[in-house]
Each structure stands twice: as C-alpha cells, then as structure tokens.
Symmetry: D3
Subunit: 242 residues, 6 copies
C-alpha cells in the first residue's frame, strides 16, 4: 500500500520530518511518500497561505504520476481537504480530523495545542465543519511559529507542555492533540511531561488511512464529494487545466 | 466610493450581469467595478473549483492597480472570503453572508435556493461558519447548473419558484435568498410569484459594503484576519510572490 | 426617505442624542425623526421596564401621523421588535440586531459591552432569538446605569474601554458592539483606545434601514409577522383599541 | 395557599374555564383565583397582542390587593413571564414551561399542539429561551383560533388529535403538550384517542406552583430577576407608575 | 400514595437520611419507602459503580413486593433511569432531572455543586440527555467524597458554599442544585450562606412524583420506554430472569 | 496483539459471527477473542437489557484470565463503554463510535440503519454523548429484531437497503453505518445495492483498536475514566466484589 503524505508548507525539511514519523508507525508493506507542494508559503499560518496551500496540495497530488492508495493532508486546521476528496477516488485523511477523531477514543474531552494564536480560529472552524468539535475542550496556542518549532524542538516542547497543562487543569481536557504537522515526533516527550495521552495527527492519520484501505472504504461520491463536472478551466498552467 | 465586485466564475458575461445589478442599486457616487478572475472554471460548482476560485479572486483583487474602498466576493457558498480579509484593509463582503444577514431582518426564518444539489453542503457550511445558519430553514437546489441559469432565465425562474414555494410551505421559510451570483436580477419575478421577500446577495452586498465604508468600519486586524506575516512564497507567478 | 428612530426610554435628551447620531450618518435625503414614548421608565434596565417600553414604542409609532419608510427601535436587548414587525408594513430594525449583524462582517467574533449586569441576560436572549449569537464572544457589563452614561460620558468611555479590552484579550472578541442606545457617539473614542472596530447599533441600524428601503424589501407577512387578526381590544386608551 | 391564575386573553369565560381546571387538581387547602386582565385582546394570537397581554397581566397582578403565594401565567408561548418574576417575590410559573417540563418526565421527546400556525414560532422561541426545547419534537398547529376552541370543543378535540397523531408517528413525539390555555380540560379525551400522555400546562402549573411554595423556593433575585430599580415611570395610569 | 425512594449507594444510613428528607416534604397521605440496593458499592462515584447501581436499583425495585405509585432514583448523575422507565408503569423521577427542572423555574441559569471532580462529566452527560443542560451555568465539585459528606456535614457545607459562591459570581448561576443524594438536608444552610435559592433534588423529586400521580400521568409507552419485549434472560439470579 | 470482542447479547452464534468478521479484517498477528456475557438477554433491544448487558460485558471482560491489548464492545448504541474505560488500562472501542467515526472520513453526513424503532433513541443518545452526532443525517430502523437478522439474512439485507436508500435520498446521507453488531458481514451486499460506502462498526472497531495499540495510546486516566476508587462492594458474586 502506498500513502501520499502531503505537507502544506513548502519547507522540504518539514516534509521529511513528517514522512519519517509517518513511516515509523506504518504497517509492514506500507510505503509512505512525502510530498512538498510546488508553490506556496514556507510555513502556513493563516487563511491566505492556507488557501494557497489547498490548491498547491491538490496540484501536487494530481501531478504525482504513480499509483497510490490514500492521501494524507498534513496540515492542522488548513483548507482544502474537500477538494482532494472530490478529485480522488482513494481515501483522503486530514490530520486535523485524524487527531481529533483518535483523541475522542481516549478521553471525555480533548484540547489542541497549536502554533500561533491567529491559527486557533482556523482550527476551530475546521473541527466544527468536520463534526468533531463537541468534545473539544479548547484550542490553545503555544505562541511559537511553525518554523520556530523546527529550529528549537526543546523550546517547542516546553511551550506545548505549558499550554497542555493549562488545558488539562483549566479546560478539563483529558487528551492533547498536537496542532501542527511540524510537531510530529514530539508526542512522547509531551505525554511523559503531562501524564495524559498525546495524539500526533500525522501518525494517527497513517493508521486511519491504512484502515480505510484495508476495509475497502473510500470517499462517497453521491453528493458533496462527487467528481467535479467537466468544466472549461482557463489560465492555470498545472494539472487542473483539462 | 469604488467597490470591486469579483465574480468567482471565469465567464465574463456573468461578471457583466452581476456588475450591472450591483450598479443599479448603488448609491449616487458609488462606482462598481466588475472583475473576472484570470484563471479558474467557467462555472464554480463544487469544492475543487471553489478553492481554485478562492485563490483566483485574491489574485485578481491584488492585481487590480487602482484604489478601491470595498470588495464584494460574488459567489454563493464559496471559499476564500477569509483570505481576502487578511490581505486587505478595506471591508470584504461575501454575498452569502450579505444575503443571509439581510434576510434575517425580514422574517423569522429564511431559505436559500441555489443551483445544483452538490453545492448545498458548501452553502450550509459557509453559513454555519459565518454564524448565520440558526434561522436558515433550508438550502434547496433548483437542479439547474450555473450556466443554465444564464442560458434560460425563464426556466431558471420556474425552477427557483418551485423550490421557493416548497421552502415556504414545508420548511417554514418566510424569506428566500437567491443562492447564486448568476441569479442576480431574478429577485423581483420570484417575489411576485411567491409573495415573500426575495433577497439577491449581490445587491444586498452592495448596500452593506457602502454602509461599512460610510460608517468608517473595516475588518478587525487583531487576530483571525491579521495581515499575513512576511513569508517566502515560492513558485507562484502572480502577485502573492513577494 | 423618512426613518423613525424610537427611543425605549422616556428621557427626551437621550432621544435627541440618538437622533443626532442617526442623522449624522444618514444618506442625503434621509430624514431622521426621533420619537420618545408617551409612557414608561426614564431608563430601561430590566424585563418589566422593557416590556412596558415594548408597548410604549408600538403606541408611539402607531400614533405618529405622518408617512414613514422604516422604523428603528433604539434599545439594546429590549423586547418588542416582533410586535412592530406585525403592526407595520415598512422595515423594522432593532439596534441589537443591527449592531451584531454589522459586527459579524468585521471579525470572527464580537462582544457587546452594555450598562448593568442585570441587562446581560436580556441581550443574550435577544441575540439568541435573532440567530446572531453564535459568534458572540461575550456580553459584558460596564457597571454604569443608562442615565450615568449621559451624565458622565468620559467615565462611560473609561468603563467601556476596560470591558472592551477584557473582551478582546480574554474572550477573543475582534469587534466591540456598544450595547446601549445611550452610548451613541462614543464609538470613535473607544475604537481609538482599543484598536478594534467599534459598532454603534444606532448608526448601523440607519444604514441597514436605508438599505432595505432602497432594495425594496420589507417584513415578510406570510407567517410570524403577519398583520394581527381583527380583535376586540378592550381597556386600552391608545391607538391599538380599534 | 392562594395561587393567582392569570388569563392572557380578556375573555372572561376562558378565565373561568382555566380556573375551574386549576381548582380541580389543586391540593386541599389551595385556593385558585382566576384573574382576567383589565385591558388587551379577547384572544391572544401573535406578538403584538402577546406584548400587550404581558403588560396587562403584570398590571392585573399588581392591582390584586390580597396576599397570594404564587402566580401562574396561563398563556402558551406568550411574552411577559420574566417581568412578573422581577416584580414579585413569590414564584411565577408560565404554563409553557410547566407543560414542557412535566412532559420531559414522561417521555424521550414531546410535541406541542397549539392553535394557529402563526403562534408556532412564538412557542418555539419561548421554549428555547426557557431551555426546554432540546427534546421538543415539534410544535404543530391545529388550525383553530383560540375562540373557536371554546365555541366547538369537539371540533377542537378532532383537530388536536389529528396533529397529535402526526406528532407521534412522524415527529417521534412520545408525549403531547396542549399548547393553549383555552385547551384546558381536553387532555383526557386526547389521551384516550392517541394513547400517549397528554399534559395540560394549566394543571401542570398548579402542581409546580404548589410544590415550589411547599419547598420554600422562589425566584432568585441576584441577577436577571432582581427587583426593578427605582425609576421615574411616566404616563402610565396603573399600578406601575410609582 | 406510596413512593419508593431508592438510594444508589448500599450505605443504609444514606438511605435513611434521604427517606427522612423525602418524608419531611411529602404531602399528607404520602408514604415514603426508602430502599437500599441489595448489591453494589457503598458509595457511587464513577461510571462502573454507577452502572452497577443502575442494575441494583432496578433489581431492588422489581423485588419490592408491595404496590407503589411512583419511584424516585436518588442518585445525582447516575445511570439507569431509562431502564426503570421501561420496566414500570408508574412514574419514575431521577433527582438529577428533578433538581435541574425545579431550578429552571427559579432563575435564568443554575449550577450544580457535587462531590468529586470525576463525577462532573457524568452529571453533565445526564443533564444533556435529559434536555436540561442549556441553562446549566456549571457543574462544580466540592472535592468531598460521598461518605465524607455524611461524616462531616459542617465541612460539607463549607465546601459546597465555597463552590456555590464561585458559581454565582463567576459562572453567573442564579440557583444552586445540590448534586448528590447524600447532601439532602443541607439546602437551608447553603441558601442562608449564599443568598440564592438552593434546590435539593430529593425533595424536589418528591413533589414532582406526587404531582405526576395526582395528574394521572405516567411514562409514555409508545417508543423509547416501551415495556421490554419478552426475552430469554440467562444467568441472572434476581427478578429479571423470567 | 490480542483483542477481546465482547458481544452484548448472550446468543453464542452472534458472538461467533462477530468474531469471524473481526478476524477477517484483523492484521496479521492480531488474535481476536470473541466473548459472550455470562448473563443477560439473548438479544439486547432496549434500556433495561442494555444496562444489564453493560454490567455483563464488564463482568465478562474482568473474568477473562489472559492478557489482552484492547477491548471492543460489539453492541450498537448500548450502555457501558465508560465503565470498561474506568476498569481497564487498555483501549476500549465501542462499535457505535467506531462506525460513526469511520463514516465521517468518507462523506459529509452519515446515517445509521438499525433494528427496531425503539433502539433509535438509544443510538442517538450514545452518538450525542460521544460527540459524533453533528454529521448524523438520521438513525433509521429496519423493523427487524436482532434475532431476525440472524435467522433471515436476505430479508435483513432487503430491509436495510430500503432504509439506506431513504437515508440517502431523503436525509442526504452519503455513508451508511450498520447499526447492530448482528449485521456484521452484510456490508458488502448493501454497498453494492445502494452505491454508497457502508461501514460495519465491528470491522471498523478492529482497525481502530489495532491502531491505538500500535500508536501506544490508551484511555486517559486523569478524570472521567480514572480507575475506580477502592470501595466496599457488597452482594455481587462476580469479579467486581473486591
């Protein structure tokens, strides 16, 4: 089974870190392919950049020329998942949904700890539309930007632990979701420090994507995610212009 | 005052029709500029096309080289409004929100009548995120595609009236919102046929945009719609690559 | 176009202040008529007084003997708007709804800052029924009574700014609504102090009422706001006894 | 113990019928006093009439010159209960809340069957504000006006049974609430015909009011229903002008 | 009239205290029978113990061999009420619902003060399913275990008052519900200390059960609480194995 | 890895069918152990039976004397999952949650098709508490009892397909969840007939349980699902009496 894990940022080192985490939990026989978009921001932290990434992720997946069995969109709280679901016949798993859905099996309420405060409303909105917000105790910002996470992982751990502890004590969270693809690999340290289960959306998404493939399930095509109707698409140099 | 009204489709005739409706209700001294995106689908009817339009609308607005006072995104239920709000300092009004918000001053519940069934969930999701869904009685599809509306306006009226009547009698709607920018201009006929107020999102958006400008109000920049942080944006030929 | 702006309090000086603000933002050709109820409390700060004002506002409007194009009920969180909508064929705009609806075009969440704590639940309830509460971050009380606002505007500004800043920092509001008709005219000072958009319900209502009239839209009469059925009304000295 | 049961309509015969039903279920030692408002519509079927009744009920209760232990407002879905709660120190029970609250002890979901369709939104709104709407399966209109109920009780039973049966079979209601004070006394017939428990708000309210008195409980005065502040009330001939 | 009041804990002294409170408010002619389950935990403070109590309460009621008119399940936030409703034809009142339902007649919002923090989610979940959570301001834990309440009532009062005051000042509660059957009898002291109405679920349940019996109302049998279908039940020594 | 799959019914043949389906999708190296409760109803179709099953499932798991890595509770919409989560340190997956959670990755809305109408409210309530109800389009009953499913699988398929088609066409479901453990194995036929993805909760639960184990995640013990406190448990013959 081959699973594409697509970064939303154009920073190649983040793609590699994500793919490495994904491969580490993948079942024997699962091949993880990390993809970096051909265009967009080096880090995605807001709506404009996220919309650009939405299209860039679709562009990157559609220009991948080998067969694959599932796609993981590895950005937390980003736009675009529904577009991929329309374009593809294989399952699409967004790490936002994967993290929340997994956390809900582990406790009565979960919190997300993310990067900057400005991304909090995006995450909340994505969780609301996914129908996974009812048991979300809070979405909290560590205050670190995406690229800062990568540059100083230890500082990242400290900042995330601080918010995670507040989420548990004040917001009554029982599980923590890491709210950024770039936090992949930090879960174990944070679990040890906080004493609660910590879910990394990337690894959770790998197991969910594998499960859907094994169960022979993929996106329903009867309504919302039906294949796009034939259209005249002008002015776009990439794959979408058919 | 100059207001940009941006079509989400790349069909120029729809832009002209929308701009004409907008100008017809504009206050004396308001100049309406209709803009057509430089790339994207001739008609937007689903998530992929809508995400592409989101970026195309931002690209079109950012490449407009004259001063302007407000922007109207003239697609019903489409992605992208939040990105525009980040990029601009002038007010941004989406016709989805404009229509619903106006309808709520006119009755206890409203329904939207749109084009194809596949776009219904997009509209519902946009209204939910905008916080304007509580008094939405239903979103109904006329079954006509965007381009069919233009080709046969009389057939469009019939199909919309049929759904509007069901919305009133079965869903208990008291007001009807036209759920497509391409329906601009049909409101009066439908009102006469159904006996309930009919809101065209485009004209409603013009008065709202004018009002915000007159009141000296624009998008809050303290959190969700703060100006994007400086980023390295690669691979994008247009205005966003700074 | 003539718009009636009806105070809910029987304090004439508040009516004048409100009408002055309203006229200041009105379009050329719009005549604002400030009306004071013939009976009721000098300031409305609770349910009993608000119910009395509801009837007093209807009585005042029905006894106005000139033609008019729209009515604004200038009390924040008060009862009665639905009754006016039944009695009249012209648009009715409550400043509670006008403020919230306008704020939602400007940010992801808004807070209301009002007078006394006891009025907070009234405002929350009105916003819930109007379907405009989903993106309300909080309703906060400045602690000042209605008449204190008038007597000491500078103290009012300080008290409002204090709560507005807490609304932004703690409740994550991005826009502030002034939660009392008597606060009309303070918006600019508060905006300068807080750095976020500040919406005055009275001026917002003027632009909305004008817009509805310009668009040819008025209250739907098919169900909730249908004209009252002919009834025998006894014991009431005013206009309602027909 | 003396309980005032206040009709919202000015039709004396309805007051008598309500008071008779109330007395029939009252505990030994409970005296029911039926009161008719001094002004207002002979039947209340909409917002204007309901707001007028709200004030008329307060006026009637405040002008009652004997001691009493509790007040029942005997209109289904009407305005005004919160005003009474402010003005009085004894418990206030609205039959809307009494009916719904009682029904929730009897089944998983309940429906209300009321008079005219135009009153449905009022009832829904009152139940929402009272926090008793979550398990409301539907509010259905029998199509009969208040005064028609009185004139032809058998026709009323038929019309209510028809809607009650639809509520059970289609809306999945398990209990029926009679949605009009004027339906008092019809519950047993409707129960026999439908096979589900039928709650009459008036009799339910009597037992709740008695219970609150026996338990020594009354309205909280710390916030929403605090006694009105001293005010100058002008132009009102009745008891409120102090 | 005979009402069974069933403790959820197997501690006999708690049963006696509950029954004593219940009898104290019962109407003349009402006989209260306190029952202790034949099996289960001495105090119920979590899901496992609560599920065991659910069955133990049903077992105890079904093995009671005298006629009775209503049953009160005297545990706050415990499982099992729906099972009793299926098994019996007489009304079943859970003190969780009785307390919340009564509190809602007394103020705009109520809070529950319970024992240990771990029971808070159970109470919240029970109130949500009962449709009585909308106006719940908070559920707060006193930090005292069930058996500690009994051993040191004065300490219990202090701990409950502390949380009740926070509920009023911070969460905007206007009424307090005692969130444990073992708190029966403490209401008056807490009311005096906090100045807000305090509802004891046990005594509230007595008046509700009496009211339902007097009104001739009992559980609807048309759907959710229909009598169990005939089944082969194996391996159970008690009454359920038929 | 060893996973216990516990039937809620005491019918051994259902256990075998469930275990066989579970084993069929299990990863290499996963051993499925099917367990039948030692007591309870042969088929669970209501609250009383479900509460009994809740305890019976806990009893059965606690009396299993070999090590295991996860537990699946194989009843759709049944009580008890939270108790297991308290008692165990390994992950617990309820097929209700597993089915819904998986369906949400496949479409915008899902419906559940279950057995008898009386079980519909149980399923809805479980989904609400699990926070997975927002995108549930409907829960529909096939009208077949649990044991009828087993006796006549072809009739079961027909009845389920009929409701599934209504769910898609009327309720706008895009995915179907099989709402009974006894439906395991029918998914492929129903998918072929309806053209939408069909999720069997049992097989979905197997992949989720495996995933949680592989990710090293288990139930949070900080609050709701903390290990039960030491208690004196009387009168219970099984494992719980410690």
């Amino acid at each position: 089974m081959r699973i594409l894990v697509v970064n939303v940022n154009t920073t190649e080192s983040i793609t590699q870190a994500i793919a490495q985490q994904a491969q580490a939990v993948a079942a024997p026989g699962t091949e993880i392919i990390g993809l970096t978009p051909h265009f967009g921001a080096d880090s995605v932290e807001g709506n404009f950049e996220s919309y650009l990434a939405a299209i860039a992720v679709m562009d990157r997946v559609m220009s991948y020329d080998q067969p694959f069995d599932a796609v993981i969109q590895a950005g937390y709280g980003e736009h675009g998942r529904e577009g991929l679901q329309e374009l593809l016949n294989v399952p699409v798993v967004d790490i936002t949904d994967a993290g929340a859905s997994t956390a809900m099996f582990l406790g009565h309420a979960y919190s997300v700890v993310t990067t900057l405060d400005r991304t909090v409303p995006l995450i909340e909105d994505r969780l609301k539309l996914s129908g996974l917000f009812d048991r979300c105790a809070s979405v909290r910002a560590s205050g670190l930007a995406v690229l800062e996470l990568e540059q100083d992982p230890q500082r990242a751990v400290e900042a995330i632990v601080q918010q995670a502890e507040l989420a548990v004590s004040q917001d009554k969270a029982e599980v923590i979701c890491l709210g950024c693809g770039g936090m992949a690999g930090l879960d174990e340290q944070i679990r040890q420090r906080t004493g609660v289960p910590v879910v990394d959306g990337v690894t959770a998404a790998v197991t969910i994507a594998e499960s859907l493939v094994r169960l022979g399930l993929s996106t329903s095509k009867v309504r919302t995610y039906a294949t796009p109707r034939p259209k005249t698409i002008i002015g776009w140099p990439g794959r979408f212009g058919r």
